[in-house]
């Protein structure tokens, strides 16, 4: 897997922030989608395969970051997508709320490029391992079922009297 295999969505009402964050990520080869408001962000998530969301909390009008997160976590199709909150004011209350709502991490603004990239990288890795694990579990369950089935059939062909 390379960075260009991952689609990242960045949501921030401040266009300059969008540019800065997305430039950092594009430099690393990630694919990006941008949105300046909540409703459009949800639309993008529903219409595209998004692997990770960077979500600003404070957004005027409409849905703020928390609201977007709530909506995405309610939908079974989108609830597994990891969300990293971008917090302008480093208020511990916001951070706690973010985690309670299912956010996996937060990046206080203004951020350092290296910190942003490291946190994104970590979440991508976790997602990769999660996906890998899920595939593995599914595969093992299937093969277990096959074996049980095979044993069952075998047991019927053996005559217990002999």
């Amino acid at each position: 897997m390379v960075n260009s295999d991952f689609n990242l969505l960045i949501v921030d009402d401040n266009v300059e922030n969008l540019k800065v964050v997305s430039s950092c990520l594009l430099e690393e080869g990630y694919k990006v989608a941008l949105s300046t408001e909540g409703a459009n962000a949800i639309k993008i998530v529903n219409e595209n395969r998004i692997d990770l969301i960077l979500l600003d909390i404070m957004m005027p009008g409409g849905a703020d970051g928390f609201e977007v997160c709530r909506i995405l976590k309610k939908n079974s199709k989108t609830k597994e997508i990891p969300i990293i909150f971008l917090t302008a004011k480093n208020e511990s209350e916001d951070v706690v709320t973010g985690f309670q709502l299912g956010g996996v991490d937060y990046i206080p603004k203004p951020f350092r490029k290296e910190e942003l990239l490291a946190r994104v990288y970590n979440q991508i890795q976790i997602k990769l391992f999660k996906d890998l694990l899920n595939n593995r579990v599914e595969y093992l369950e299937n093969s277990r079922g096959e074996i049980m089935n095979w044993l069952y059939n075998l047991s019927k062909t053996i005559d217990p009297e002999r």
Binding site: S4, N7, V15, L18, K19, S22, S23, L26, G29, K31, V32, A33, L34, S35, T36, N40, K43, I44, E47, N48
Partner: protein, 389 residues
């Protein structure tokens, strides 16, 4: 840089050689100086009315040269004894070559140095003829100050960082963004995500050479139209013919702004409006001088309406850059297959704006798209009616 007030406006000198001398000395000074300054001074002493002696002094506050080395530094392959703490490196030929050049001009070169405090190199060239005419170079250089290129991305591949910095410095005001790579692998990686308008390749690099890199780039159809420029030391000019098929042009080190800009002007679009971008008027007319036949225009219109318009409608309202990029790339490929410059240009610009995350420009450009189809239709109709007469 300090000039004596008496320096004549113009001297009759071998421009390339004297530049090489100064470049070597200043380059050395930069290499061995971690803090402080590097000073370049020129003096001119008249012997007769129009003949005199030129002195160039390059002084640095670097690590200096040990006394026992002073006598031999102009010999080939003499460098500071292994000093693992220091980052300086080089071929060991710089000063030897510099000395040879100076001597060929009947000049002398000498050095004063205090270890730990710095060094001063002095080059003296006698019997130089002065020229009253203001040099041609100076006036053209002034003109280059005003040149702006349109949304241009330049990729420079060179293992020696200062060679890249020189270019970056020269084009910094000209609307050119620089991508840089220190070796072929990094360059190819950059090319995976970026389509520059022009590429400069150093020929001699550790690992993949500029030739090998150029060959690889040539095999990729999406880079077919990008001019490849060999960025090479003047000394290797003899090889020019051998490689002329691989490269569009040559740029010699040490590079002058003159050579650089006249080369860029040959391959890039010069922007007329220096500061204001006239985006909206950009799409009001389609240049039908393109090498596209009437029949092909109709085909293109059909493809645009049936294939591209639905995709456009699905991407236009959201800034899903990876989809926009896909759209622009597909459009670029299609227009290239018809050699339709106008659309090539449009999609190429869009791709750069996406790379640069120029959100306003992306939105404006994307909005233009149906307008292009409309204009195309109008032009086709017009052509048909005039042919009908």
């Amino acid at each position: 840089v300090e000039e004596t007030p008496y320096l004549p406006a113009s001297l009759e000198l071998d421009e390339i050689r004297i530049r090489q001398v100064i470049f070597n000395l200043v380059g050395n000074a930069v290499k061995f100086t971690n803090k402080g300054y590097i000073q370049v001074r020129t003096e001119f002493d008249y012997k007769f009315e129009s003949v005199g002696r030129l002195t160039i002094k390059v002084k640095d506050t670097g690590i200096g040269i040990p006394h026992e080395m002073l006598g031999s530094i102009f010999e080939a392959f003499r460098q500071l004894p292994n000093d693992s703490n220091h980052t300086a490196s080089g071929t060991g030929l710089g000063l030897a070559i510099t000395k040879k050049i100076v001597e060929k001009m009947n000049g002398t070169i000498s050095v004063n140095s205090t270890p730990g405090k710095g060094s001063e190199f002095t080059v003296t060239i006698p019997d130089i003829v002065t020229n009253k005419v203001k040099s041609k170079i100076n006036t053209t250089e002034e003109n280059y100050k005003d040149i702006r290129f349109k949304d241009t991305v330049l990729l420079v591949v060179d293992d020696v960082l200062p060679n890249i910095e020189v270019i970056a410095e020269l084009v910094s005001e000209a609307g050119v963004s620089i991508l840089s790579a220190e070796n072929g692998e990094i360059a190819l990686d950059i090319l995976n995500h970026n389509i520059p308008n022009i590429i400069f390749l150093d020929l001699r690099m550790p690992g993949m050479s500029g030739y090998e890199l150029a060959k690889i780039i040539k095999t990729k159809p999406e880079f077919n139209n990008i001019p490849l420029i060999a960025y090479t030391a003047f000394a290797f000019e003899g090889k020019r013919n051998e490689n002329s098929k691989l490269f569009h042009d040559f740029l010699y080190k040490p590079v002058s702004s003159n050579a650089l800009f006249s080369l860029l002007k040959r391959y890039l679009k010069v922007s007329n409006s220096m500061s204001q971008r006239k985006r909206n008027t950009l799409y009001t007319e389609i240049d039908f001088e393109d090498a596209v036949t009437k029949q092909h225009f109709k085909e293109i219109r059909t493809i645009l309406i049936e294939d591209f318009l639905p995709q456009w409608a699905s991407i236009k309202d959201s800034l899903v850059l990876f989809k926009m990029e896909e759209f622009a790339l597909r459009l670029k490929k299609m227009s290239e297959s018809y050699n339709f410059k106008y659309l090539q240009n449009y999609s190429g610009k869009l791709l750069i704006e996406i790379k640069m995350v120029d959100i306003e420009a992306i939105q404006e450009h994307i909005e233009c798209f149906p307008g292009i189809i409309e204009l195309l239709t109008k032009k086709i109709d017009k052509k048909y009616s005039s042919y009908g007469k």
